[in-house]
């Protein structure tokens, strides 16, 4: 089995820089990290200096993802030797227990950390993750709510809570969580789009209007968000076809839907530029749009 450095013809510095980039981008490409990291650790450990500890942590988490328990254990032992009293290392030990499905022990581990340092957010989040892994969604939601009461500013927690609520079909509360995220990140088009989708799913005229507005906002923030474009088309057609709206609203929404349809057609034309299949795909798009049209009364 050829080593990574042979396959891609890279030196150890490039491998280390690649790992750093993945770390900064928070990417979870665990198999690649394990391949690159394992080689870096076994062959070039002495050259890495102090970087090696954070690489151990990164590789360990990736190894747990890929079920490479041997590698994870090695990394953990090295880290334990170097930092015997560290909470960060204890959390990694807890994660390994979680990966082995020894949830009781892992919970005890995290409780010990929290007794020592009640403000440690990492341990609390791992406990909630255990509940989620065991399938106890209601408890996970309850714990996460309590966590958020203390740490209102934790954005990834809000996002996780919104996901849990969507899985439980509690769309109102999911919308609340997404609103928190939109407030803290007003320029992130993905949150706007997710919020609009939740509102669309909730249904009802008012929610439909909100959903259309937020799809439009997502598009304004990022012109290329196709999902938002389709969402705009759907929500506008939905409102236009509802019997309870006034004529003016109906007219406006038909206009919005038509505009959205033209943009969709344009996008598919541009995407298919240069290929023979363009004609066919454009026709397919038009047919799809027609079939998606809610019958207007």
């Amino acid at each position: 089995m050829a080593s990574v450095s042979e396959m891609y013809d890279v030196g150890w510095e490039e491998m280390r820089d690649k790992l750093r980039k993945w770390r900064e981008d928070n990417r979870r490409n665990s198999e690649q990290i394990v391949d690159v990291g394992e080689e870096l650790i076994s062959e070039h450990a002495s050259k890495l200096g102090d970087d090696i500890w954070i690489i151990y942590e990164q590789v360990m988490i990736a190894a747990l993802d890929c079920s490479r328990d041997d590698l994870a254990l090695t990394c953990l032992q090295e880290l334990r030797k170097q930092f015997p009293d560290s909470h960060r290392v204890k959390r990694l030990a807890g994660m390994r227990l979680e990966a082995l499905e020894r949830y009781e022990e892992a919970n005890k581990h995290y409780d010990a950390i929290l007794q020592d340092d009640p403000t440690n957010t990492a341990a609390r989040k791992r406990k909630i993750a255990i509940l989620k892994a065991q399938g106890k969604s209601t408890e996970a939601i309850r714990e996460l709510n309590e966590y958020l009461e203390q740490f209102v500013g934790d954005q990834e927690a809000w996002h996780e809570l919104s996901e849990l609520y969507i899985n439980e079909h509690d769309y109102g509360k999911a919308a609340f969580c997404l609103e928190e995220l939109m407030m803290t990140n007003p320029h992130n088009h993905l949150y706007c789009e997710q919020y609009a989708e939740v509102k669309y799913t909730q249904g009802g005229l008012e929610n439909m209007e909100l959903s259309r507005k937020y799809f439009a906002q997502a598009l304004r923030l990022n012109n290329r968000n196709m999902r938002a474009l389709f969402g705009l088309y759907m929500s506008a057609s939905h409102i236009a076809s509802s019997p309870k709206v006034s004529a003016k609203v109906k007219k406006d929404n038909i206009k919005y839907a038509a505009w959205a349809a033209t943009q969709i057609n344009r996008a598919y034309k541009l995407a298919g530029r240069g290929t023979k299949e363009t004609k066919y795909s454009v026709k397919a798009v038009e047919e799809m749009l027609e079939s998606m049209q809610i019958t207007m009364s």
Partner: protein, 252 residues
């Protein structure tokens, strides 16, 4: 009136001016590393962390509330500011102003601060004064009145000498303040060798007490939030969006 220009021995420049600069600089760097070693861990309580985050959330609500629907904004504003049980009205934190005498951790912090900063300055200032005494070191470029003479011309017993000619002790003090920018260049911002900043902090910091801040901060936030209104940013978003064609560059 042109006063007679003194010509200083160039040996003075070589053996006095430059060594003092080096000494001051090295002492500053050593002070920086010592202060890092002696830094005590700041343990924050859960309540403090929680409060600071709540304040941030309220501020974000004020600034970015216009991106969420009006109903949601009002709901949150009500949660914070409601007369009977709004968060800012209801929570009163226990206020214990930490006087240096009663709070042991603050006392040790103060002591460490003094030891690392004031003590070396006094010691080295005195040593320089003793070593490099009895001669004129340098001339400050602006004219000074006679009242500065005893201060700046410590070891020099010449009544008729212009006050602009100063001794080595004053050159040392000049260096302490002058090398501040060098420290920021080499040790980065926020370094422990920055004496004048620390002295400024000591003077203004005595008036600040952290926990009392929380209650006041809550009150300030309550007032600010009362005044905020909801101007929905999405009023005319569809019109804005449709005023021009979408920029689909790069879609593939």
């Amino acid at each position: 009136m042109a006063e007679p220009e003194l010509l200083l021995d160039s040996n003075i420049r070589l053996w006095v001016v430059l060594p003092i600069v080096f000494i001051t600089f090295l002492v500053g760097v050593i002070r920086h590393y010592v202060s890092i070693l002696l830094q005590s861990d700041k343990k924050l309580t859960l309540e403090q962390v929680s409060d600071s985050q709540v304040l941030i959330r309220s501020r974000i609500l004020r600034e970015n509330g216009k991106y969420i629907p009006k109903q949601s904004f009002l709901m949150r504003k009500f949660y914070f500011n409601n007369q009977e049980d709004g968060f800012f009205k209801k929570t009163k934190r226990k206020v214990v102003p930490p006087s240096p005498m009663t709070d042991p951790s603050m006392l040790t912090d103060m002591m460490k601060g003094n030891v690392t900063n004031v003590l070396p300055m006094i010691l080295i200032g005195g040593w320089i004064n003793w070593t490099f005494s009895g001669f004129v070191t340098t001339k400050v470029p602006f004219p000074l009145t006679l009242r500065f003479k005893p201060m700046l011309q410590q070891g020099i017993e010449l009544l008729s000498l212009d006050a602009s000619w100063v001794s080595s002790a004053s050159w040392y003090f000049l260096n302490v303040f002058g090398l501040r920018s060098m420290y920021s260049l080499i040790l980065g911002q926020d370094n422990g060798a920055d004496q004048s900043r620390i002295m400024q902090e000591q003077m203004s910091g005595a008036a600040m007490a952290m926990p009392a801040d929380t209650n006041k901060a809550f009150k300030a936030e309550w007032e600010a939030l009362e005044l905020t209104d909801h101007q929905w940013a999405l009023e005319s978003v569809e019109e804005d969006l449709m005023s021009r064609e979408l920029d689909l560059d790069g879609i593939c």
